[in-house]
Symmetry: C2
Subunit: 432 residues, 2 copies
């Protein structure tokens, strides 16, 4: 099943699909050469928005969940990609320590962890789960809805303090699935003998969205030039705004002015392409995730007219951290629908391979709202299995494989941007 595009691909995006399908050999070659220069993150998921006239990534998650939402037929593909990733980072690995999100006991999330364990076991690794939570003092079984059980075990540093593991389990590789919004736990620091994936600076304790989207700007500029397309088709405008305090109103004037400036730029593009929608921007925290501290705005004045409730929602993200730096990002309408519900595609990648995807389908939200909101009711819908294989003979804009191929290309642009972002922000860059 493929979501119905409310505005069937037309005009600019239809043209984009044509160009990208025709340029497949050049595009794949370009990616191959970029991956010679840049190392992709170990794993990654990218949230996309398809406005019919524009297709863009809005979130690049370096601690992806949702592997349980993939079609079971995709599992061998994920295993093969994981084999390639393991081979690159730690060919001599036997034991993999997986650290799930600290306090997430949602059964959906736990099923994601169970699926990840399955994938990595099938690459031939011994996999066990370590918990960052202080509450886990002994091996703690957690029952899953399907009747299986996960066991969380307390993390421990080795006697000499140099390695991290579990009781009777010394891993070569540690795979983190907690985004470190709460800061970097001391137990994860100074692990020089083991491979910690992703590296600590990929976590929200240090990561900034503005660095990512700035890297994405550069990647898309190059890609657009190569394919003779307008980079804006794949790239939401954004601006960074520092020193905002939503509680005491300081910095609000500057934020409102930046919002208006961005809206003016978007309106110009809408006129150029004859787009009748109302432009909007998203204001979100530069650090952090989880759908908190996110606001949809259609005019700079809305920033100044925020209610006390809106202010306190914007002022704090996950784990109580205060927002002072925000980014303003061009909003991308989502025009995909399943049974009248808004659908947002999520593309999952391991190493440099697209291993599948699913739709986040939301019954109660509007086209210009964030679909990844707390408590959001969403239905995962696995991409059809042939997602990664374009159908070269089909009419552009008509087939699921081609739409998924396009999604895979854009998601990989975001993946490449994440690689470059992590290189640039590496506190201990390797010098050659």
């Amino acid at each position: 099943m493929v979501p119905h595009l409310v505005t069937a691909l037309n005009g600019p995006l239809l043209d984009l699909e044509k160009k990208i399908l025709n340029a497949t050999p050049a595009i794949e070659r370009w990616f191959r050469l970029e991956w010679q220069e840049h190392t992709p993150p170990f794993y990654c998921s990218v949230d996309l928005r398809n406005a019919g006239f524009k297709l863009a990534p809005v979130d690049t998650n370096l601690y992806p969940a949702g592997f349980n939402n993939l079609a079971p037929e995709m599992l061998p593909l994920a295993v093969q990609a994981a084999m390639a990733a393991i081979e690159k980072y730690c060919p001599d690995a036997k034991n993999l320590l997986l650290i799930p999100e600290t306090n997430n006991r949602s059964s959906f999330y736990l099923q994601n962890i169970a699926r990840m364990i399955q994938i990595f076991r099938q690459t031939g690794l011994n996999v066990r789960l370590g918990s960052l939570s202080d509450d886990i003092k002994t091996p703690t079984p957690i029952d899953l809805p399907d009747g299986s059980t996960l066991t969380l075990e307390p993390l421990e540093r080795s006697a000499n303090g140099r390695r991290l593991g579990l009781k009777n389990f010394d891993p070569c590789t540690i795979l983190l699935n907690d985004d470190l919004s709460a800061g970097i736990p001391a137990i994860l620091e100074n692990l020089n003998e083991q491979t910690l994936l992703p590296p600590l600076h990929a976590g929200w304790a240090l990561r900034r969205k503005s660095n990512h989207f700035s890297a994405y700007d550069d990647v898309v500029k190059k890609f657009a030039k190569m394919n003779d397309i307008d980079a804006w088709m794949l790239n939401p405008y954004f601006a960074k705004c520092g020193k905002v305090d939503f509680k005491d109103h300081s910095g609000e004037e500057a934020l409102a002015a930046q919002v208006d400036a961005l809206l003016t730029k978007i309106r110009k593009k809408y006129r150029e392409y004859g787009i009748k929608e109302t432009p909007f921007v998203i204001i979100k925290a530069d650090a952090g995730t989880y759908g908190m501290g996110i606001m949809t705005v259609k005019d700079g004045s809305e920033v100044k007219d925020m209610t006390a409730k809106q202010r306190s929602r914007m002022a704090v993200v996950k784990d109580g951290h205060e927002v002072t730096d925000v980014i303003i990002q061009e909003g991308v309408h989502t025009f995909e629908r399943i049974n009248d519900s808004v659908a947002e595609p999520v593309v999952m990648m391991i190493d440099r391979y697209v291993v599948g995807g699913y739709y986040r389908v939301h019954a109660d939200r509007d086209i210009n709202e964030n679909l990844n909101a707390p408590g959001a009711h969403f239905v995962p819908l696995a991409f059809a299995q042939q997602h990664s294989l374009p159908d070269m003979h089909a009419k552009p804009g008509t087939t699921a494989p081609n739409r998924f191929y396009l999604y895979g290309v854009v998601a990989r642009l975001a993946l490449l941007a994440a690689s470059i972002e992590l290189e640039k922000t590496d506190p201990n860059p390797e010098v050659y």
Copy 2:
């Protein structure tokens, strides 16, 4: 559907499956480390024989056909593996020239070529077909049963003589699917600017089975030691015998003696494991393929008592080349059956990945005969898709995924042997 094992896995092989499943992390790690040292052939298929008490590769094909026999669900896996292979050999490739077998117009073979084109197109390469045949002087369309068309084009060397391509098509990579039994065509020689895969010395003009099985001996010895198993369980005994002329009977005495010596070794092993079958050996040409020049023998005297017809069949292999060197290989009974027909598994690999497999099912042949005979009626049966993913919780010997995993391990041992064989026989080895 999975072939029924006539002799359900029992005794030694059941024990082997147990050991191999339990050792999966160590085995996968070992393969990862071996692939750091050795480069796998670009693609490869391995014919296996499962005797219930013994599981062994009997043929390692470096110009595999049969991609059309894979389950369509496996296609994304093949594409992803091909992406990894292309990335390794020629990341900057855009054009791939595929050279099919020169005079094979069987519709099965052509469907294999069509499937290969599909796989490589979907990695993002432009793929065209070049023919080694002198009869192809202009682009020649060939209709396939499914209504599609392949176009064979004449090969041409560039004006300066340094590159090989087609009219208006300059490939970075040339993928050969002809095994060069007829010798090395001049047009393929001295291609120093392009990547020719596999290299010329992988073809039967230069390749020798004895080199392969000698490399396999070493690989299996290492693997068996690591897993505490008897290497014989995975390895047919073999001996090489040179200077045999079937026409004038010279060398036959020595051959008969070697046959008897090998049979004695096998009988000893059969006694050790309480195997009641009658041992046999296969005599085949050291160079060449295609099921010609192959003979099943249960006693040395049979060599001397060959009929004139048998002699002339043994004396010549494909393309009329004379046999002078032969190998004697321990015969492995095949005890897999589908509807009373003998079934022989074939495992397909691209780069270091198992991408699927199928059964060669033969209605008219016996358990100790070669199933890859000219004109053989065979029915391909695709492996179930989850072939590469063992089911760790299943009882040993009972599940298809576990049998396929075991097959994948043994096929990769043969793949590793082929890598080492090609390194050792490289006429222009790279020096580090």
